[in-house]
């Protein structure tokens, strides 16, 4: 009887999980073994053909490379800035509430709105960035139209958007640190930097891991800005994996290949998550 009761309590969550997480995952894997289906040419089983096509697909490798650079650009920078901002607004400073709010604002704005604002920052000639450069007599640059700069423009936007969100977690963690530690440290003659490095930072590690996982996931799933800013261009220079999947699924209407790419994305994320949990977790001090 108790067992039935337990299962009943689990049911709602289980139904949601199975319907929206497990079933789609399995279905995606299943679809990736079939060809693109239309009413006139029903999908047929093709084995690993989609995967072979993927390995041969230049654009796929390009978006994978872009995504790696995007992750490498956004994750460490947004975490570092978030931590810096958190320490800053945790201390005593005038208008502290205002500063906290200002840092948090980018988070509450919808990404599409943000991208529209930044589009006008980056626009050559009339954009804010170009007008600023002009003040110093620097030449105008076509930021989003140049394959060498476009990805970094996206990275900067992502950092700006994300750092404030992560700051909240660090701020909460900082406030839960007992003040005695700092007093004790000061009595022992520890400098501020030494204290941060040897006490504060290690105590923040559980939060850092949480933020790191979030930042990693976001670097794969946050692609809204591409729809407004670049549509993945020029020539796929700013396209990311998830955006490419969207294009294949809804512009090419090729569900089968989109499923194949999704499996690749899922596998990558799974490997990263496992790595983070098993390797990082052992080195983290939990109270």
């Amino acid at each position: 009887m108790r067992q039935v009761y337990g299962w009943l309590l689990l049911t709602p969550a289980a139904i949601l999980l199975i319907a929206f997480t497990h079933y789609p995952t399995v279905a995606t894997l299943w679809h990736s073994f079939f060809s693109q289906g239309t009413a006139m040419r029903p999908a047929a089983y093709v084995g690993l053909e989609n995967y072979l096509y993927m390995l041969d697909d230049e654009i796929f490798w390009k978006v994978v490379r872009n995504n790696a650079l995007y992750a490498a650009g956004t994750i460490p920078a947004s975490i570092a800035i978030a931590l810096l901002m958190a320490v800053w607004v945790n201390g005593k400073l005038p208008l502290r509430g205002l500063a906290r709010m200002a840092y948090f604002t980018p988070t509450i704005l919808p990404m599409i709105a943000v991208a529209n604002i930044w589009l006008f920052f980056y626009t050559p000639e009339i954009g804010l960035l170009d007008q600023f450069m002009r003040l110093f007599g620097l030449p105008s640059h076509n930021w989003l139209g140049d394959p060498d700069t476009v990805l970094w423009c996206i990275v900067v936007l992502a950092i700006w958007k994300e750092a404030g969100f992560f700051m909240i977690f660090f701020l909460a963690a900082l406030q839960s640190l007992p003040p005695e530690l700092e007093e004790a440290g000061r009595l022992e003659g520890a400098g501020r930097w030494y204290y941060f490095r040897r006490v504060t930072f290690p105590l923040l590690m559980p939060t850092t891991l949480f933020v790191l996982i979030n930042a990693t996931i976001n670097s794969f799933k946050l692609v809204d800005q591409l729809f407004i800013l670049t549509k993945g261009g020029p020539d796929n220079a700013s396209s990311l994996l998830l955006y490419y999947i969207y294009e294949v699924a809804f512009s090419f209407l090729d569900e089968a290949y989109a499923a194949t790419l999704t499996v690749a994305l899922l596998a990558t994320l799974a490997i990263i998550a496992i790595g983070q949990f098993f390797i990082m977790d052992k080195r983290i001090h939990y109270r």
Binding site: A39, T123, I126, R134, S140, N142, G233, P234, D235
Partner: protein, 427 residues
């Protein structure tokens, strides 16, 4: 108070009873439609549909705004797949092959019966029918259609010593005018001669350049592309040269979304853009501006653009008849003229421009007629089987050339060979 309430309820009940009994054999239609240029267009459509229902009380139309062209196709196809009713839709004119392959639409030739209906089918501008026809049948009826036109800043023309009433009519004139219109030093331009957008819809702009070089990009069966034809390569070289050699345009890609703002702020003297921007530019330009046909290379040319009516296969004969009624209503000369004035889209048939309303509007505001006059030189927008994929191949090739990563021959050669691979099974 209480009696009044009772009266009201009785009246309401009575009215309700009538409402339910009167249109006994009512047909219900669901229509999806996209808006690509934003703003108040939904109100215009709702108004037209309400007028239709007033005239045809036995037909109920649910018009659903479905986002941009891409969203509209996704939503309509998803609705069909999930068994939700949708009898007709306005969708991208270039979706035709995709919709045929999905077996989603019926040809209008199979629905029209009377001679009068057959004449109606032939009453539109032939250029606008190109994207709606394949295999000898008509699958789409033009509704919200556009072409690319050249907007130019007359004040800038005067300042540069050019005749503001003589916009460049050939590629050579375009380059020389552009050089005169350039203002500022390299790297610090106060005003560029011209800008052609190369994000968003690069293939569309390129369709114009190719046509001006007397080359179409695909065949009408939708299974063959001409990306590596010498004239196509030449056209792309010209686009690249505008920025690299003649320096009348910024190099790299130019953003579709912010171009209008560049033009309105006087940062470019000429822009190529959709007629769909006409009303916005008219409202916001603080300078004297003109609209002209695109210049000619070997000839003039532009692709058409925009949305067509389609009727879905999954509908009963009565629903198809009602859909026809609605489409015919919305494409009457008078309605078409009203639509064109309110939006800036083309009047889709010659007799729309014979109506008093549109005649008067064209006299008051001559730029409204440029897109129509240009139809004579227009061709179909790039559209093939697997159109999303093929379009992207061309888009990528164009952008890789404009950013200097590849030469036109290289980029278009590889786009062609990949397009051949995709289209092989449709030949």
């Amino acid at each position: 108070m209480y009696r009044k309430l009772k009266q009201t309820i009785a009246a309401a009940a009575l009215a309700g009873a009538f409402a339910f009994t009167a249109p006994a054999a009512a047909v219900e239609l669901t229509m999806y439609y996209p808006v690509a240029v934003g703003g108040s267009l939904t109100k215009v459509v709702d108004g037209l549909v309400a007028d239709f229902m007033k005239e045809n009380p036995d037909i109920k139309v649910k018009a659903i705004y479905a986002g941009n062209y891409n969203d509209a196709r996704i939503k309509a196809l998803a609705a069909l797949k999930s068994g939700e009713p949708a009898q007709l839709s306005v969708m991208f004119s270039i979706d035709i092959y995709e919709l045929i392959e999905q077996d989603a639409i019926v040809a209008f030739d199979d629905i029209v019966k009377t001679d009068e209906e057959k004449t109606w089918l032939n009453s539109f501008y032939p250029a606008l029918m190109e994207n709606g026809k394949t295999g000898g049948k008509t699958w789409g009826i033009p509704f919200q259609r556009s072409t690319i036109v050249m907007y130019y800043n007359k004040d800038a023309f005067r300042e540069a010593g050019l005749d503001p009433n003589k916009p460049p009519a050939t590629w050579d004139e375009l380059v020389s005018a552009g050089k005169k219109l350039n203002k500022g030093t390299a790297g610090q331009m106060d005003r560029w001669g011209m800008m052609i957008p190369s994000t968003g819809y690069p293939y569309w702009m390129f369709g114009a350049l190719a046509m001006q070089n007397d080359q179409v990009l695909m065949n009408s069966a939708g299974n063959e592309t001409n990306f590596d034809a010498p004239a196509t390569i030449e056209a792309l070289q010209f686009w690249r040269d505008l920025g690299e050699k003649h320096k009348v345009m910024p190099s790299g890609t130019i953003e579709w979304g912010t171009l209008r703002q560049n033009f309105l702020e006087g940062k470019t003297a000429i822009m190529w853009h959709s007629t769909g921007n006409l009303t916005t530019v008219k409202k916001n330009a603080k300078f004297d501006f003109g609209v002209a046909m695109l210049p000619a290379g070997k000839r003039r040319g532009t692709p058409t653009g925009g949305g067509n009516f389609y009727i879905f296969k999954k509908s009963s004969p009565e629903e198809q008849a009602a859909s026809m009624k609605l489409i015919r209503f919305l494409t009457q000369p008078g309605r078409t003229a009203e639509w064109s004035i309110k939006t800036g889209y083309l009047g889709t048939r010659p007799d729309a421009y014979e109506t008093d309303a549109l005649k008067k509007y064209v006299v008051e505001f001559p730029p409204a007629a440029v897109a129509r006059d240009q139809l004579e030189f227009a061709t179909a927008e790039l559209s093939t089987y697997q159109t999303g994929r093929v379009r992207k191949l061309l888009d990528d090739a164009i952008q890789s050339v404009l950013t200097g990563a590849k030469t036109p021959a290289e980029a278009l050669g590889s786009a062609q060979s990949q397009a051949d691979k995709v289209l092989k099974r449709y030949r």
